[in-house]
Assembly symmetry: C3
Homo-oligomer: 255 residues x 3
């Protein structure tokens, strides 16, 4: 880790000394907006209501891509508007979406000065988050926006033959390969019979309840702690052993 | 690092907003209960009295392996009962052991709901730790237990010829190889003459006081900051240069 | 990460329970005083006034190298006096230097006891920092000193032909190679024409404003968020692709 994350904390405490700050992750694959967005969407709900979440995966830093602050009924987000909040938007219910407010960050009064052209995390996102945490109203940060930039293809699709096609959106430090296929989405099919799963050259059958359901060294398919379908190897590393990477397609169907 | 550790903090703050939380380590070799237990046992005493320590290396998550909370005279621990607390138990004095209370975690009132089958860190251990930190009495968490599961072979043994045989229990980021042989255990022998040390094909003689006692690039044996015998290479990486791994045997004797 | 950093927090909280603690970095190349000093010098100014910064890169731990605490008009530092604070000293203005106080750490009353010979971070630096943060006066920690040990060659030099020769002092996790050449130092020359840059076998021309100014995969030269000249590769890793390492020379000049 560089000092980048530490510096954000200094900037936040300068503005709001009482802030309690947790690092969600600094191990997102460089510039991987898909993975970062997935991780945020699955993690934020475990924090107290009203927590401000700062997410900075920002390949377009220094260009004119807009930056936003978002307030849902349960949390606040500060991020570049480059699709990073797509997965978070996807997990909101219709009712939550209707109650969500978005503003574009334009009020430089709430930023550090001068703003660098390469580190908006320090100069814009962290200061804005600190002001929000300290009680500044969302509407002060800039004009309202109607919509977020949303990434294409972050939701699984249904193919003919009852196949659901998703993607690997994250690989954790154990090498478990986590997809964007949620339990509810395949709830109906996996009760009809054996669950089949295919990714690259691999075909797997069955559905484990926990890692210990398989022999050591064997691959298994299960719904992980995030409620998404994942491929794991008991006591092993599925990503390296099976050659699976972020973005890879994964198909599931019932017998 | 994944978001797993960050999520635990969210869960803790949700229950006990005043908690100050430090990460001890997230770099334990996957499923290495021996290494994790050693790290915990050597680290916990540096925290303020009454600190709650959560340790989750849990290959049996989702099976019926029990989970425990432990209160010693100086600290509290929440962990799966899979041997992870063996080293901590070993470093307790007889008097401390007599005053130690153990409960099995059964009261789901103190857990998140629903409990996943793969992430008890988030759903059981972190919530229980937060409740303990906030003042909940140990006995509320479940029924008392008499004993912890203890790993075999975590203590060095005495062989004939005055040889003490221990194991490498940790390799730090500098590549220093730390054994389970405590200073007190070899105190008598290393004052009788030269200390000899053998691990794999390597034989070392002498006992350094500090890393700077040797030339750059040379291996040395010393008692490290944890009070355990360790093998290091001045300005180098003993683990990779000498091919030493966690679990390797190490013998020491006096001339 | 080992438990070393976590243990420092325990030690600090034992002395000063209200401390808010941020990790700046634990990824300094082993024993690299140059890199660590650079990272500290560029990071500390983003923290609230009066923050205590503990820096421990300490190849001479256990020898008689002195340890110091330093109070500048804006911050406090606790570190071995081995050149680690050179870059911080370099960024101070003349006025700030005149107002800076240095003491050698000799008052063991403010240390842990016993002091190990290999982990002064835990036994001396962290306790002293905690006492300073809790309000202990600098002068209580030991006798005043006039000077810090300063590394040679941490400032760029001017060669004939208008060439400024600096060094790579840090490589961040994206592989961006950051030099010790500050914007102000080359401000005059890069307005006269094209900026030329040479490191190892590579020659680059031009000055980007942000990473997005180049095509994906192309190298670029820009002033990064720390105000120093850096070499980057758009969507790539300059250090590995171009074979650049910490300590490498870098020359810049105008056409």
């Amino acid at each position: 880790m560089d000092t980048y994350a530490g510096v954000l904390k200094g900037v936040i405490w300068e503005i709001f000394a009482q802030a309690r700050i947790a690092d969600l992750t600094h191990q997102v694959a460089p510039q991987n907006v898909l993975q970062a967005g997935y991780l945020l969407a699955t993690a934020y709900r475990y924090f107290p209501e009203g927590t401000v979440h700062v997410a900075v995966v920002d390949p377009g830093v220094g260009t004119d891509r807009p930056a936003v602050a978002v307030e849902t009924p349960s949390a606040l987000f500060v991020a570049p508007d480059n699709g990073l909040l797509s997965s978070t938007w996807e997990v909101l219910t219709e009712k939550e979406r209707a109650a969500t407010r978005i503003v574009e960050l334009t009020e430089s009064h709430y930023w550090r000065s001068p703003v660098s052209s390469t580190f908006h995390g320090r100069d814009i996102f962290a200061p804005v988050a600190a002001h929000l945490a300290s009680g500044v109203e969302l509407s002060k940060l800039g004009p309202p926006r109607r919509q977020l930039v949303l990434l294409e293809g972050i939701q699984p699709v249904k193919l003919k033959g009852g196949i659901i096609r998703g993607r690997i959106v994250h690989i954790d430090r154990f090498g478990n390969c986590i997809s964007n296929i949620e339990k509810e989405k395949v709830g109906s099919i996996h009760q009809q019979g054996w669950l089949h799963c295919r990714t690259g050259p691999h075909r797997l059958k069955g559905l484990a309840r926990t890692y210990a359901d398989e022999q050591s060294g064997c691959p298994l398919v299960l719904f992980g702690s995030s409620g998404r379908l994942e491929i794991a190897v008991r006591d092993g590393n599925a990503a390296t052993q099976m050659g699976i990477g972020i973005g890879d397609e994964i198909d599931v169907w019932a017998e």
